[in-house]
């Protein structure tokens, strides 16, 4: 019961934060100069009617009320004026989600096992040369910005060697499917560039946690009881080390929706990050508002999930108790 109340409390706090950010963003965005209608003739009249319905000419607080009401009653996030002319913002975002999610899921499927295995290997070989090599690599890949190795990968594997296309192919070129071979092939470079950072981060985390567990007293006890080193490591140390690692992996899966702005920009991925940038550059404010909220919700959800999963995974943490 305490657990349940705690979760409710956290969700309540999240909602409060979300509302504050929502209101502030909305007001700030609406304070920006409004773009003139672009349509002509009949089109202009439709556009004007739509603007009127969204309350574009009313005071900002009234607009906020209309916008919020539309979201709650009709799940209507406004209209895109520039990116997809007169399209519903919800649909605009929905069409941009698949490439972002796909690339990030591919990257996670590759980087999670790689990162964890490298981390375990380094921890077992602590202070030997293997560990030192891995540690230096981890240091390099964590520090070097992701766009730098995105450039490297694009130049070496894409341009010099010519193994992969330089940018992600369009849906049309890939035969209309996100899951075709052409699409997958063109996604390998962005997936690689995304993975390096994740692998390094995860490996460092795993290594730190596992070395701590390996040197604790219960390991000595396990060995005294007659377990072999590998048995003790897998059954005891690894299990305990996973307690803080799993929540971060879970939050990585939430982060899948957000994607990486830089990687999408470099490889021309038509995803949510590109949409965000485009909405800023083209001053398509409803899209900007909706994508901003999208990013905010993802960030908040990831935070909550980390906290909650700690409580579920680690029996020592009693949620909601003081």
């Amino acid at each position: 019961m305490a657990k349940f109340i705690y979760i409710l409390k956290r969700l309540g706090a999240m909602l409060l934060t979300l509302i504050v950010i929502y209101v502030i963003s909305f007001v700030l965005i609406k304070l920006l100069p409004v773009e003139k209608p672009m349509g002509q003739g009949n089109q202009a009249r439709i556009e004007e009617a739509r603007r009127e319905a969204l309350g574009y000419n009313k005071p900002i607080m009234e607009q906020l009320w209309i916008y919020t009401r539309n979201i709650i009653t009709k799940w209507d996030w406004g209209t895109s004026w520039k990116i997809d002319y007169m399209a519903d913002v919800g649909d605009v975002i929905a069409t941009r989600l698949p490439p972002t999610i796909l690339i990030n899921v591919y990257s996670l499927l590759f980087s999670i096992p790689m990162g964890v295995i490298l981390g375990i290997f380094a921890a077992i070989k602590k202070n030997k040369w293997q560990d030192q090599v891995i540690s230096v690599l981890i240091m390099l890949f964590i520090s070097v910005p992701s766009y730098v190795y995105a450039f490297l990968v694009q130049y070496i594997l894409g341009f010099k060697a010519g193994w992969f296309p330089l940018v992600v192919s369009s849906l049309y070129d890939a035969g209309g499917s996100w899951f075709s071979w052409t699409m997958f092939h063109s996604m390998i470079l962005p997936v690689l560039s995304l993975s390096f950072g994740d692998i390094a981060g995860l490996a460092r985390f795993t290594r730190a946690e596992l070395t701590e567990q390996l040197s604790s007293d219960y390991m000595l006890l396990a060995r005294t009881k007659g377990l072999t080193r590998s048995q003790a490591t897998v059954r005891h140390a690894l299990k305990n080390a996973m307690v803080p690692i799993l929540p971060s992996i879970i939050s990585m899966f939430v982060g899948v929706l957000g994607g990486s702005l830089v990687i999408e920009q470099i490889f021309g991925v038509p995803g949510i990050g590109a949409l965000f940038l485009k909405s800023i550059n083209l001053k398509d404010y409803d899209v900007f508002m909706a994508t901003s909220m999208f990013y905010t919700v993802i960030g908040l959800a990831a935070n909550i999930l980390i906290d909650l999963s700690y409580g579920f995974l680690d029996p020592r943490i009693r949620m909601g108790e003081r």
């Binding site: 700030l28 304070l31 910005p145 450039f151 940038l277 800023i280 550059n281």
Partner: protein
Amino acid sequence: MDINNIPHEKLQFAEGGLQLHDQKFETKPIGFLKDAWLRFKKNKGSIVAAIIILFIIAFAVLGPLFSSYAVSDSDANYTLCRPDLGLGLPFWNGDKEMRLNDNYVALLYGIGYGAEDPDGTGNVKWQQAVDSDYACIVNVKDSVMESGMHYTYCDVDTVMRVGFSYQTITMKEFEKIREWEKETGIRVIYPMVDTENEFCMDPDDANFWYKCIGKSPMTANGGRASLEYLQSAGYVDNYKRDADGNIMFYVNKDKTMINTRVLYYNYYRYMHEGSTPTHIFGTDGQGYDIFIRLASGARISLLLAFGVSIINLTIGAFYGAIEGYYGGITDMIMERISDILADVPFIIVATLFQQHFVQTGKVSAFTGLLFAFVLTGWLGTAYRVRTQFYRFKNQEYVLAARTLGASDMRIMWKHIFPNSLGTIITSSVLVIPSVIFSESMLSFLGIVNFQSKDMTSIGTLLSNGQKYLSTDPHVIFFPALVISLLMISFNLFGNGLRDAFNPSLRGTEE
């Protein structure tokens, strides 16, 4: 002797009346900072990182002293020049490997050929053109046949490739150049080309000084010249001649201005008092010198990072100290405020700041970005300081100070705050790479615009260089190298500091 009856005159104190005090330590005291320094010194990686950081800072601050260019200098002729150290090394010498078709080879050889013959006499041997100081083709490599076309791989000098150019100047200027030519013996003015006849391939490109037919050079009797023909018989010039057949060196444009044709390399020397164009890191697509632009960009990034770090430290220290020291309801309210702030996505804040304050011209891009970073940046410092204050505020020495009548302020800053100094310093150092990274990312994405004649940032350089990634990777290489080095060394340095300020690690290395 009877111990109970010692005669008075025999009783003597062993110390002879000396007063005994504690002896002073003969060793020197090791203070907090010295202790940290001793531990920091042992970490070789951090020392190297610190040296690299100092080196990059020196490059950013002193770079302009070592360059003959200013940040705003751009030369539309010298775009995408390769890096040239100017030492005549086999690499880093301003050469670019290019795949050229025969017409282009002829064009490039033509530059050296024409440059050797400033008076248009036509008496130039092929070898002279090849060995010319102004030759573009430095090194000829393999040739290949591809889909029926003959291509040659050549190393081309990217500065000399510019060759000739048309300049519109005044007659006075023309005479000044002639004067300078006499003084130095360097020829700047070359014969004008007859741009109006049918043999001129491109009236805007001064490098087509020879007669062309189609796209190829022309032979003396009007055919297409092969490279072998050019080698034996040379080019047929297309210079403009007056009625008497004398070569003209300028054409009147209007009343005051004249059109001339100059060898741009020498014209550059004339304009810059004899100095030659050398770009250590090359030039970018707009003809800016990358070395000086990079120094300026690194300066902006570092300035921003240090500024953010100092402001965050100040705000965070005050906020965290008040939270931690007073606790209770004050703490709760302040914590809720920072909870909400912590969840605001930085990228959206930065974007809104740019849209509202920078694009409307209220503040500069730099200030706008600084505010965006500060808005949520101090939370980390505040959190750490708060923890430290919670830990120390109930200790006996604080109680003792309070009993002696010390004010809250004095207890906070004199007694508790020094205990959190280590964590604060470490976190402020680690803020620097994250700010540099975020700034470069935002300007790379174009959310923040640092692109102007007098200012740039590393992220802007990267995004400008992205379009030349496949043809001229040097444009992106140097900015990427500098930012990677900065990130690596600041992280190493920060980690070293963290270990150095952590007294619990004392003696663990041995």
